[in-house]
Amino acid sequence: MQKKKLVEMYRMMLLIRRFEERAAQMYGMQKITGFCHLYIGQEAVGVGAIAALRPDDYFISAYRDHGHILAKGTDPKPVMAELFGKATGISKGKGGSMHLFDVEKGYMGGHGIVAGQIPLATGMGFAIKYKKEDKVVVCSFGEGAVHQGSFHESLNLAKLWKLPVIYLIENNRYGMGTPLERASAIWDLSQKAESYDMARATVDGMDVLKVYDVVAEAADRARKNGEPTLIEARTYRFRGHSMSDPVHSHYRTKEEVEEQKKKDPLIIIKDKLLKDKVLTPATVKELEAEIKKIVLESADFAENSPVPPLEAVYEDVYAP
């Protein structure tokens, strides 16, 4: 892989991490309200997957979406402004943390109903085939979503109709307070693809390069043969389910979280790039400084932006 691309992936993971750390602070100051789900710990999954796509491919996900929209290339300023509920937000302040959208960048949301986006991704795949476009869709969702009917209905349709969709399970082990083993009859989640004779893969979701590789391969299969793939990326969330859930509640121990933090995806890639001399301690420092500035500017932008005008309430209910 090109050096530039490797650095860009690390830089994006760093941006997401620092952006969310700032968002968490802002939540504490009540600048951000409602449900706010941090991606911290899972950055390698979204960044690796999106790096394997072309800019005009689609990506769609759930409410844990800050990292995805940033990785798809959206300016952090309107993203932070959306979390603040400001008129300059990417969804004009009407979506919030869970409902980020940037159609121009191919980021199709930000969905609050668990598994609700999975049929939508399938529909985008259908449209790509219908219009004979050279595109693919990646659909991200948590391991908690695979128990919904819409997941299974979608997989069957995608395989039956040969749709270019990559279903990406971000298995962070817990759906809220429920560990996988109390929610799923099987552990090896990509096995579910076999019921539909679909290609499948399991990948270490803490290693951005490994994620990149499996998604690149799946994208290739989708483009060439219209073959869907189910990928399980094994990852971990370092924070609580949302800002209102503590980091280690009774459903997981402090030791477990600390143990997992040793596999911090940012450290894994940074160490590798330092070892391979792609980065030097000096360039790491520079990147840190650059990212810090970008994040601070996004928070300032959000802070100084106006709230939406009351007329906005009635706007965008219907298309003209």
Binding site: G93, G112, I113, H147, P308
Partner: protein, 325 residues
């Protein structure tokens, strides 16, 4: 009388009914080990065991149907919807099965099941998580719909709902779980289909339920300062509806304002206004007015959310309108 929070009152109702009848069980997402997303089922798994307090995967359609199926053969499930927004995924089982099996089978089944959880908006949760679906359920024959406003009603109505031999939709409120009130101990039942006067008055009737009662009472207090005595009526059960309590009040006050959290189009308030028109038309001195949320999906920004929701000022303005002042 002990003072309890709303969530404690609901918890007590479930615990007492589970104690009373071994066929009553609780099922839903995070109800057991996590003690409920909003802690309504706190301690129940510890007390009754994981056989009777059952955590499910995220599969609303599936576990709603499991509830209905188990009720077909004699169990009495309480199915918690983490919030009623997610019950939308389960509507097929609720509408097509729970509500119709008795009728379609010529009375061979009874389906004693309660679907409960919070409905309506909280703060800044956005369009998919801030929906008041009261009218959806009210539209379906075969269902009963309950929406309590204070902890004591919560307890008394939930106990009745669990003992009822029909599917009952029991809609709580996320923001009201912390509200406190006196709650009678032990056997305390509030019958379904019976409303209550929450405040007496002679000048205007304000009808509200669930957390909108508190908006109505705030408005009534503000109006009292201007010498206007509003009567606040809480139907408590939305289906079947206590028509008589509404008619009796309107016969006295001759004016009526309805406050509901849901959307205006085809809302429960439209049905109530219709019933008042049908049965108390000759007593009305002004058209019945409705205050509801605005006719839009809920926006995230707090200033917009506030603008969309009913509040006491809007109710006061409507009351003045029906009083022609």
């Amino acid at each position: 009388m002990p003072v309890l929070t709303f969530r404690e009152a609901l918890n007590q109702a479930m615990a007492e009914e589970m104690e009373r009848d071994p066929n009553v069980y609780l099922m839903g997402e995070e109800v057991g080990y996590y003690n409920g997303a909003y802690k309504v089922s706190q301690g129940l798994m510890e007390r009754f065991g994981p056989e009777r307090v059952i955590d499910t995967p995220i599969a609303e359609l599936g576990f709603a149907g499991v509830g209905v199926g188990s009720a077909m053969v004699g169990l009495r499930p309480i199915i918690e919807m983490m919030t009623f927004n997610f019950s939308i995924l389960a509507l097929d089982q609720i509408f097509n099965n729970a509500a119709k099996l008795r009728y379609m089978s010529g009375g061979q089944f009874q389906i004693p099941i309660v679907f409960r959880g919070p409905g309506g908006a909280a703060h800044g949760l956005g369009a998919q998580h801030s929906q008041c679906l009261d009218p959806w359920f009210c539209n379906v024959p075969g269902l009963k719909v309950v929406a309590p406003s204070v902890p004591a009603d919560g307890k008394g109505l939930l106990k009745s709902a669990i003992r009822d031999n029909n599917p009952v939709i029991f809609i709580e409120s996320e923001v009201a779980y912390g509200f406190k009130g006196e709650v009678p101990e032990g056997e305390f039942l509030v019958p379904l289909g019976v409303g209550e006067v929450k405040r007496e008055g002679k000048d205007v009737t304000i009808v509200a339920w669930s957390k909108m009662i508190h908006v109505a009472l705030d408005a009534a207090n503000a109006l009292a300062e201007e010498g206007i005595q509003a009567e606040v009526i809480d139907p408590r059960t939305l289906r079947p509806l206590d028509e008589q309590i509404l008619i009796t009040s309107v016969e006295k006050t001759n004016r009526c304002v309805i406050v509901e959290e849901g959307w205006p189009y085809a809302g429960v308030g439209a049905e109530i206004a219709h019933r008042i028109n049908m049965h108390a038309f000759d007593h009305l001195d002004a058209p019945v007015l409705r205050i509801s949320s605005k006719d839009v999906p809920m926006p995230y920004a707090l200033n917009l959310e506030k603008d969309v929701m009913p509040n006491a000022q809007k109710v006061v303005a409507a009351v003045k309108k029906v009083l022609y002042i």
